[in-house]
């Protein structure tokens, strides 16, 4: 962030008159504000997208009335909920009941501070960034337990307790998997981890060694579980717990829980992108775009470069978000004992095994072998992806008649 702000200040004469700390503060405020707006818009659009995808998967339409194709649905819902009564049950613990949404809201936004959207657009590039992400997650856990307990409702309490047990359990495999990536990159800074990868798929962490490829799955499942996403959404299992820890919440307080859940969706995608899919690495693409547009001044060139990288990062993370949404409507929910079994009996041992083999691999296997392995794995990945698209195309071709329907009829 700092180099980018310095560049703007050096180009802009009005800012040079101001004291340096003041301009830094102003820019940090602006960037925090941008992130805030981005997260808000993303959460609204994700809520809409999820309902549309769900509609498609379940052969129904989904929201399509508010705005073109119903894209303003979440906004309408938000305004409606604003005008709703704010109910606090008599027997609830009033202070904690009011405080819990703040914990969740703030915890969610604090995670976004460390997400690098491009090579220069990251609000805080912390030297222990990846650890910071794990740590702020605990704010959300506290908020969930607090809301569950403060409601004085049996569903809420059960949901809150389950959620806490689930999140803390899955934090072990997630932390172990991130450890693997840290080991391979030799740094805990998020930018450092991205910089250690490359733009081309064979430079991504996921294709570096077979163990990193395997490690992706504990991480992905763990972040699904930590975000209370299907198939691990035990805390809010509607069929048994009404709505889990937020049962007693209404009005805008409820929206905050909803909001946190959907912004977490982006965090799942972003974390996986950063650790395994090369982050914002765009290779020669920014230079190519700059050449295409014929941009000369260093500041505009830097802005275009960052924009291109932002697009790359967004594309990768939104692809993962789409997968997460699809998973929710495809998989059945697991039982609570299965949930714990998956974590402690499968994911943790797999992560341990990975760690040992990876440690030995890094000492024993010379670099050129790693390169060959990476190329082979990338080839396998591309083949698998190609086969997947072939299947999708085949399905589309052969079931065309059944898929074609007019949503408005």
């Amino acid at each position: 962030m700092q180099p980018f702000i310095d560049q703007i200040i050096s180009e802009c004469e009005i800012l040079q008159g101001l004291p340096l700390w003041f301009s830094y503060l102003i820019f940090q405020l602006i960037f925090c504000g941008i992130i805030f707006v981005f997260v808000a818009v993303f959460a609204m659009l994700a809520g809409y997208a999820e309902r549309r995808v769900a509609g498609r998967i379940q052969s129904r339409i989904g929201p399509n009335r508010v705005g073109p194709q119903g894209i303003l649905q979440s906004l309408a819902d938000g305004i409606k909920v604003f005008l709703k009564e704010d109910i606090i049950p008599t027997h609830a613990d009033h202070i904690l009941f009011r405080l819990a949404p703040y914990f969740i809201f703030i915890g969610m936004f604090l995670s976004f501070v460390a997400i690098p959207f491009s090579s220069q657009w990251v609000i805080a590039d912390l030297d222990i960034g990846i650890f910071y992400l794990l740590a702020v997650e605990s704010l959300v856990v506290i908020g969930i337990v607090m809301s569950g307990w403060a409601s004085n409702n049996k569903w809420s309490l059960l949901g809150g307790m389950r959620s806490a047990a689930q999140i803390v359990s899955y934090e072990v495999p997630v932390a172990l998997t991130i450890l693997l990536v840290v080991m391979y990159s030799g740094t805990m800074s998020i930018q450092g981890i991205i910089m250690a990868q490359g733009a081309a798929p064979w430079n991504w962490n996921i294709f570096q060694t077979p163990f990193l490829f395997v490690a992706f799955f504990p991480l992905f499942m763990g972040s699904l579980a930590e975000g209370n996403r299907m198939p691990f959404d035990m805390p809010e299992a509607e069929s048994e717990l009404v709505s889990g820890y937020n049962t007693e919440y209404s009005g805008f307080r409820f929206v905050i829980f909803f909001f946190a859940e959907f912004s977490n969706l982006y965090l799942i995608g972003a974390l996986a992108t950063v650790l395994f899919f090369g982050g914002w690495q765009a290779g020669p693409l920014p230079d190519f775009v700059n050449g295409l547009l014929g941009i000369e001044t260093p500041l505009s060139a830097a802005i275009v470069k960052n924009l291109v990288e932002l697009c790359v990062f967004m594309f990768k993370s939104l692809c993962l978000v789409f997968i997460v949404i699809q998973l929710r409507w495809t998989l059945p929910r697991v039982r609570v004992d299965q949930l714990m079994n998956i974590c402690w009996k499968y994911l943790v041992p797999v992560a341990f095994f990975n760690l040992v083999v990876m440690g030995i691999w890094m000492v024993v296997v010379p670099e050129y072998v790693t390169d060959i392995v990476a190329l082979c794995m990338t080839a396998c990945g591309v083949l698998l992806l190609g086969y997947f698209f072939y299947r999708v195309a085949w399905q589309l071709k052969n079931t065309k008649a059944r898929l074609r329907f007019n949503p408005l009829s």
Binding site: F82, P89, A124, V172, G186, V348, M362, V363
Partner: protein
């Protein structure tokens, strides 16, 4: 310290917006509390007892196991960060040995826990 300042800024922004929205919704929303509206939701029935019941010990077990494993993992991070450089300097075998001893103890703990059935969620008291 400067890199950590934005976290504080974000804290203030997020907290401020949440507070402002909640205040706005409080001002805009209707206020017609009734006894049944303010009572605890229990699927339409009158609430039975308090929700503040005693909880199963298995949650406690999960929490304490998590703490132990979390701390072990935390100790591994400084190792992992230094590992790559140590290999370059030719200390790879030493690093593996140091972590190996630590790791064997961790795996022993996991194995013990497994054999004792501490990971079986449903079978517990």
């Amino acid at each position: 310290m400067d890199t950590y300042l934005p976290i504080l800024i974000m804290f203030v922004i997020a907290g401020g917006f949440a507070g402002a929205f909640l205040l706005l919704s409080y001002l805009l929303g209707p206020k017609k509390p009734t006894d049944s509206k303010l009572s605890v939701y229990e699927c339409g029935l009158n609430p039975v007892g308090s929700a503040r019941e005693r909880f199963s010990v298995k949650y406690y077990l999960v929490a304490i196991l998590f703490i132990v494993f979390d701390i072990e993992v935390v100790f591994m991070y400084p190792w992992a960060v230094n590992y790559k450089n140590a290999i370059k300097d030719g200390h790879g075998a030493y690093m593996i040995a140091v972590m190996g001893v630590f790791f064997v103890m961790l795996v022993l703990g996991l194995f013990y826990e497994w054999r004792k059935g501490a990971m079986n969620w449903s079978n517990q008291a």
